[in-house]
């Protein structure tokens, strides 16, 4: 179980959440660097405010395995097998790159390197998986294999997302603020709420995933009115 209390950094948070084992946490960030920052903060790989608890104790740096957006950053070794470590062979096979383990990582294609980095994270034996845009550059088979592995993952996995379809496959979502454009110009969160605009998280989610672009919904954003398709946030009457 992963517990966040007051997790925050410049531009996002604080977030409080309790994420049980087998949670796939989707992170949607309007400003994409925030998503990467949140993953790194979850893993204790960058400075942040607040605390992260893992299985009843403070999370340590070695608890998290990060597959960065650029797989080259973690694939060091003369061969792919050396680069991903012995525990990752089975995951490499599941991700369709089991045959390539004898080759040097730099000879492989971008998608193959992405699969290797993912295999390395899954095979690291660490309970907290942090995957930064893991589906970028993967073909449909690769994506299917990734979602299959995530479904079987016993710990908590957090990943930054690229689409609404991916968001729908996660058990829990976090929407990070940071949009720079808003109809009528930027407004403070309080002002948005007082005008009856959607709650921040919802707006950020919709904006990032491009869902709110439907003209009738934009037209319905008037003071004091909330489009019927926006659900009320808890505790907001």
């Amino acid at each position: 179980m992963l517990e966040l209390s007051g997790l925050a950094a410049a531009g996002w948070g604080p977030y409080d959440a309790v994420l049980p084992a087998r949670t796939v946490l989707g992170v949607v960030a309007a400003r994409e660097a925030s998503g990467t920052e949140l993953l790194e903060a979850l893993g204790g790989l960058r400075r942040h405010a607040g605390r992260v608890w893992l299985a009843g104790r403070l999370r340590r740096r070695g608890d998290a395995a990060l597959a960065p957006e650029q797989p080259e950053q973690i694939l060091f070794g003369r061969t792919a097998a050396e680069a991903i470590g012995p525990g990752a062979r089975e995951f490499a096979r599941r991700l369709g790159v089991g045959e390539l383990l004898g080759r040097p990582p730099q000879e492989l294609s971008g998608g193959e390197r992405r699969r290797l980095a993912l295999a390395a994270a899954f095979g690291s034996g660490r309970p907290l998986l942090l995957l930064d845009r893991p589906t970028a550059g993967l073909d449909p088979d690769g994506q299917a294999a990734l979602w299959q592995l995530l479904g079987e993952w016993p710990g908590v996995a957090a990943l930054t997302l690229r689409s609404a379809a991916e968001a729908a496959r996660c058990t829990v979502l976090l929407a990070l603020p940071g949009r720079s454009v808003w109809p009528g110009g930027p407004l403070s969160a309080t002002r948005q709420r007082s005008m009856g605009w959607p709650p921040d998280a919802a707006a950020d989610l919709a904006w990032s995933l491009g869902i709110e672009d439907k003209p009738e919904e934009v037209a319905a954003w008037r003071p004091g009115r909330r489009p019927s398709s926006w659900s009320s946030p808890p505790g907001d009457s």
Partner: protein, 235 residues
């Protein structure tokens, strides 16, 4: 017209055979295939960076080379020269020995591509836009784009599709390597790399064979309510 007949590319132990490849001015051509099938290898060969072991690639009857061919790598930052769009264009012009005013060239490039406003600090999408501005400044006729939409959010994917359509409308040729069905949908021709060969196929065939996901026709799109129900904690 871009033509390649009976071309073979060797890259280490890897070998890609291309019996016949065509792309006309104003056309968008998609190259699809699984990871490691040779899509990027073919783009590098088209732009003249990888030599051919057999056969020759021609663009309007001349060997295909930069600056007539412009290349966007899968990781756009690998191709970045400048710290913003203006610098990117200025440095590109400098490398090519151009004497034009970078501001004017940038304005033309932005108008041609209809790009969103420049974002600072740059995100993945802005890095792609920036490289594209530089490539347009080269006056290249052939644009080789390696998975341009793979790393960006839906909004930027749409902006890139629009930019590609506008490149085509201006008479340039665009060849994209992609796994993105929405992008492949723009293409007038689709080629599939598999088993060391690049052969013509169709969008429908590529989807049926599982090389491309089915395009999002709005049928299976999750609703915002569904997604909102999953938002965690106090956000």
């Amino acid at each position: 017209m871009l033509t390649a007949d009976g071309v073979t590319i060797r890259r280490g132990a890897y070998r890609l055979e291309v019996p016949a490849f065509r792309a006309s001015p104003g056309e968008c051509v998609a190259v699809v295939g699984q990871n490691g099938s040779g899509k990027s290898t073919w783009l590098l060969a088209l732009c003249g960076v990888l030599g051919t072991a057999e056969g020759q690639i021609w663009l309007h009857g001349r060997p295909c080379r930069p600056p007539s061919a412009a290349y966007l790598p899968a990781q756009a930052e690998d191709a970045l020269l400048g710290a913003d769009r203006r610098q990117e264009v200025g440095l590109t012009l400098g490398l090519l020995g151009g004497t034009e005013e970078p501001d004017a060239v940038l304005r033309r490039a932005e108008a041609l591509l209809d790009l969103p406003a420049e974002a600072a600090p740059p995100d993945a999408a802005e890095r792609v836009y920036r490289v594209l501005c530089g490539l347009v400044a080269t006056d290249a006729e052939l644009f080789l784009l390696d998975e341009p939409t793979a790393r960006v959010l839906p909004r930027a994917q749409a902006a890139l599709r629009r930019a590609i359509l506008r490149l085509c409308a201006s008479g340039r040729t665009v060849v994209v390597a992609t796994h993105d069905p929405e992008l492949a949908r723009l293409a007038q021709r689709v080629y599939r790399a598999a088993g060391g060969r690049l052969e013509p196929t169709t969008l429908a065939e590529a989807v049926a064979e599982g090389v491309l996901a089915a395009p999002d026709l709005g049928v299976d799109a999750p609703s915002l309510e569904d997604l909102l129900g999953r938002i965690a904690g106090r956000c």
